[in-house]
């Protein structure tokens, strides 16, 4: 148990470093799509909500889990749709492809 938690701390730390390095390279041009995309990815929390609602350990937890799924799913769906809509609009000038 203790080791598991420690592993989780390592995972968090490494992920934060990766996030920092990767996101630092994102052009300011795309900061709005960046935010909507990370938002959609963050809604992976839906996974926890699905298990909570599906396991139905108590009525209380199942109800909260169900509401949580609705909230997170709307972020997944809405977040990906709007990110793609925004990115579709970014066009380079001229037909040159380099």
């Amino acid at each position: 148990m203790k080791l598991d938690l420690l592993t989780s701390v390592y995972v968090f730390m490494l992920a934060a470093f990766i996030g920092f390095e990767v996101i630092r390279r994102v052009s300011p041009l795309l900061h709005t799509p960046l935010m909507s995309l990370t938002n959609a990815l963050d809604a992976i929390a839906v996974v926890g909500a699905i298990i909570l609602a599906g396991e139905h350990k108590s009525n209380f937890s199942a109800i909260l889990g169900t509401i949580a799924i609705v909230a997170a799913t709307s972020n997944v769906v809405g977040g990906f749709i709007i990110t793609d809509r925004m990115l579709k609009m970014f066009k380079s000038s001229g037909p040159k492809k380099s």
Binding site: S27, N39, A45, G54, A68, A71
Partner: protein, 464 residues
């Protein structure tokens, strides 16, 4: 129970692939040429992870899961199709939804596990629900202000910081008590309720111009609360997704705070929105020069290099499509037109870029502040549309100005400056802008959309 180990391994593999796809997704987002591939990778990872989760052996009741997934999709589709001008409030709203999900799951986990919760587990669980609840109400407040349901004006009162810190302090004391005595379950509702109030209080003093920082900060909080949820559920996938979102919001907060010349701690403790209207004096009518659309069009056509500086006013006036027509007309005449975009222009990071891209302006014409500032001295005309503080030379010259030290677009260095503005009334932050009184500045009074439309008509007329 046929080969349950196999299913568990399969689920873990879907999570592993999803994690890799999420990281690739953000990596591909770094350039506009690969960005859409990034969205696809994110979608694939998400679909895989959800499919894997549905195989989970513990799930006994699929009915409500299915209903909730469908309902979430029904709500999500319109949220994905809002107008581009509404993207800031949509983003704030989605931070609220994300935080709601995390808070609800945290709450349910607490009541399922109490009183047998190890101290470290209780600590991350507390962090999850505290960050989740304050992000929930804070983001709803931000969305309300951006949608103009709530007053955009900052609401401040004496001892505000004390009240806020006290609320946060009480929430932390409750969390520590619960870590030591997880059997005190009746304390738990207070640990949700107080941060809910704190979230409201945190955003009340924020004005519209500070929204980019606040949204980034709330983004970071939402990510961190999701990562904490990952610790609680022992889900590496969630820890990583939360860490990525948290660091993204964090980086954006730092960029925004630098662009507004706020210190780092200032951002961390939410001490934003404190620009007071110190513009007491200097209200005597100083002479300004103004020009008509005909004159503006003539000056623009005679220029060889034009830099357009858009701000939130352009978004409010919905002028981006007229700006595009003007860009076309001038480019056709051989004028070199680029856009200078300040990091905090608009209401969220990158807001102006999205609006201009929507109006079909090529993204290689949208330049960052540092790229533009070197060129402005060689620029014939700098045209400011609906931007104010980000062009205020007082930030460079007047140590007494509330925005002194803030990096600005040096439009005053251009040979001619033209500013489209409704009237001479002071801007949102109430700071006087000496730019307007310069000898080579022409004020173009009117609604941005109409005025640019008139310029376009003049440009077309003179061509024919």
């Amino acid at each position: 129970m046929t080969n349950p180990m196999g299913v568990d391994t399969l689920i873990e593999i879907t999570y592993l692939i999803a994690t890799a796809l999420f990281i690739l997704s953000l990596k591909w987002l770094s350039s506009p040429t690969t960005a859409r591939r990034g969205v696809f990778a994110g979608e694939a990872g998400m679909a895989l992870a959800i499919a894997g989760t549905l195989l989970h052996r513990g799930i006994v009741d699929y009915k409500w899961v299915a209903i909730a997934l469908v309902l979430g999709t029904i709500i999500g589709i319109p949220l994905g199709k809002v107008a581009m001008t509404a993207v800031p409030q949509r983003t704030a709203l989605s931070h609220a939804f994300g935080a709601l999900c995390v808070t609800l799951v945290g709450t349910a986990e607490f009541y399922l596990r109490a009183p047998n919760i190890a101290p470290f587990m209780m600590a991350v669980l507390s962090m999850e629900v505290i960050l989740g609840s304050l992000t929930f109400t804070g983001s709803l407040m931000a969305a309300g202000k951006l949608q103009e349901i709530l007053p955009q004006r900052p609401i401040t009162y004496k001892g505000q910081n004390f009240v806020n810190l006290a609320l946060l302090g009480i929430a932390i004391i409750i969390a520590v008590t619960l870590v030591l005595h997880p059997e005190q379950t009746r304390l738990f509702p207070a640990m949700i309720f107080i941060p809910l109030i704190f979230g409201v209080m945190l955003v009340i003093p924020i004005g519209g111009a500070d929204m980019p920082t606040v949204i980034s900060l709330l983004n970071s909080y939402a990510g961190l609360s999701a990562a904490a949820m990952g610790f609680v559920l022992d889900s590496k996938l969630l820890i990583i997704a939360g860490a990525l979102d948290g660091s993204s919001g964090f980086i954006l907060s730092v960029i925004m705070s630098k662009a507004m010349n706020r210190s780092f701690t200032n951002v961390l403790f939410g001490g934003f929105g404190q620009i007071q209207t110190s513009a007491a004096g200097g209200q005597e009518a100083r002479p300004v020069k103004s020009a008509t659309p005909e004159e503006a069009a003539a000056i623009l056509s005679a220029a060889s290099k034009v830099v357009i500086v858009p701000g939130y006013g352009m978004a409010v006036a919905q002028a981006q499509h007229k700006v595009r027509e003007m860009y076309d007309a001038l480019t056709k005449k051989g004028v070199d037109v680029t856009f200078g975009i300040h990091p905090v222009a608009g209401r969220m990071p990158g807001h102006m870029n999205v609006l201009l891209a929507e109006a079909d302006i090529p993204y290689d014409k949208l330049l960052e502040m540092d790229q533009v500032n070197g060129d402005l001295a060689q620029t014939d005309v700098a045209l400011v549309i609906g931007a104010n503080d980000v062009t205020n030379p007082a930030a460079r010259t007047d140590a007494g100005s509330p925005i002194y030290g803030m990096p600005i677009l040096d439009v005053d260095k251009a040979r001619t400056v033209m500013v489209i503005k409704r009237s001479m009334a002071a801007g949102f932050a109430g700071i006087d802008n000496p730019l307007y009184y310069l000898d080579h500045t022409l004020m173009l009074f009117g609604d941005a959309k109409n005025f640019v439309g008139n310029i376009v008509r003049e440009l077309a007329g003179s061509a024919g």
